[in-house]
């Protein structure tokens, strides 16, 4: 009896699946080895450039040479992992979990599911209508819509890698809190009549999809697809963000930032939120900037507020949502979420002084 026929009888050990799983493990080990060599690599690159290492330019170059491969590698790993996790979820399954849930519990569940449910802003409108028309309460839908883009794997993974696990956990906790409370408040205000008329008239109900079969190999492929798609899309943002971070790191005097964005400047939190709204970047672009700001003495709460505002309150997303929401409802949305972010900024600066 040949080996091949044995492995065919045992499910889960068929040769191509073994190849995929084995390949993934080898790739992960190689990732670890390369990642551990990044400091020598960046020192070597900086050494190639004929500038004094403690000059402004030298500082900027070494920041750039170290952060670019580091962020790229972290991003790839985190996106791959989340791609695998997300193959267990879908917006339709999330909707089924949220339909008919009471407010409160529903808001908490929605914010949590926002982290793991596959979501892109291009499908924000179908998702919004799909949720509301199937009976998910408006406030619960908002909790999901606030959490999904703001508390995402790119933001958490990069914060974890670049700024540290404490800040990443804090961002997770406060991001969820903003999503839960804002959604709950919007739900309490009973603004259903501020939806566009045609949205209120859709009573579709939820469709029952045939269950998709996912093997381990399919999930690995889903992870690779996610890397190809997300890393392929965000890398220019990331490089731009690191370049800005490198300039801040090399050239901006520490005292200047500490006085503008430091803890003593109370007005810097609202200013950071306001400046963040028209700015549109995703987490990959903003976090290298955040890292540089923090090392230069900016207060953590101010920086977190800025980051949340840039990611969660973006003009392009509002323009997309304008198709289903009236201007008044969008204004309430921005007001409530903006106030929540403001509170996070102040609270954080007060707690960690």
């Amino acid at each position: 009896m040949s080996l091949g026929s044995v492995s065919q009888r045992a499910p889960g050990i068929d040769p191509s699946a073994a190849k995929w799983v084995g390949g993934t493990i080898v790739a992960l080990i190689m990732w670890g080895v390369i990642y551990s060599q990044l400091v020598p690599f960046s020192e070597w690159v900086t050494g190639l450039v004929p500038v004094v290492s403690d000059s402004h330019l030298g500082e900027a170059i070494s920041f750039f040479a170290y952060d670019t491969p580091k962020v790229l590698m972290l991003l790839t790993l985190v996106v791959f992992g989340m791609g695998v996790v997300r193959s267990f979820f879908s917006p339709e399954k999330t909707r089924a979990l949220l339909t008919g849930k009471r407010e409160g519990i529903g808001n908490i569940l929605a914010a949590g599911l926002g982290i793991v449910t596959p979501f892109c802003s291009c499908s924000a409108v179908p998702l919004f209508i799909g949720f509301v028309s199937a009976g998910v309460p408006l406030g619960v839908t908002f909790s999901f819509l606030i959490s999904a883009p703001m508390v995402n794997e790119v933001a958490l993974g990069l914060l974890f890698g670049l700024v540290g696990w404490k800040v990443a956990l804090t961002y997770l906790a406060f991001g969820l809190a903003v999503a839960i409370v804002s959604g709950w408040i919007i739900g309490r205000l009973h603004l259903e009549h501020w939806l566009e008329d045609w949205v209120r008239n859709i009573r579709a109900g939820a469709v029952e999809l045939p269950a998709a079969k996912f093997s381990a190999v399919d999930r690995i492929k889903a992870g690779i697809d996610a890397v190809r798609e997300i890393v392929g899309k965000v890398w220019p943002w990331m490089i731009a963000g690191i370049a800005v971070g490198a300039l801040i790191h090399g050239y901006v005097p520490a005292d200047l930032l500490a006085s503008i964005m430091g803890r003593d400047a109370w007005w810097s939190v609202p200013a950071a939120v306001l400046i963040g709204i028209p700015m549109y970047s995703n987490a990959a672009g903003i976090i290298p900037v955040v890292e540089a700001l923090i090392t230069k003495g900016a207060a953590l709460g101010t920086v977190l507020a800025f980051m949340m505002s840039v990611i969660a309150l973006s003009l392009p997303e509002m323009i997309i949502l304008r198709k289903v929401l009236t201007i008044r409802l969008i204004a309430v949305f921005v007001g409530v979420v903006g106030t929540g972010i403001l509170a996070v900024g102040f609270l954080f600066n007060a707690l960690f002084s």
Partner: protein, 78 residues
């Protein structure tokens, strides 16, 4: 003749999905009538929450992300 609708507001994935359906149908020699549904209200009427979606002869078979080609083949053959 299978009546196939691809649901999506015109994002890149929706276009790719429509192309995949056409390619797979040509490969299998299944005659189809392909239609793209881009209107949000019409899409919502099918009860999905993510795009692109695929409807074959009035039945939703897929929602969210690109379909797998082996699934497409199965749906078209059914």
């Amino acid at each position: 003749m299978k009546d196939i609708k691809v649901l999506g507001p015109g994002c890149k994935r929706c276009v790719t999905t429509a192309e995949m359906v056409q390619t797979e149908a040509d490969k299998l020699g299944v005659p189809i009538k392909l239609e793209k549904v881009t209107d949000y209200a019409a899409i919502a009427g099918y009860g999905i929450a993510s795009t692109p979606g695929i409807v074959i002869d009035g039945k939703v078979v897929h929602a969210g992300g690109l379909p797998k080609s082996e699934d497409l083949a199965r749906w078209l053959a059914a």
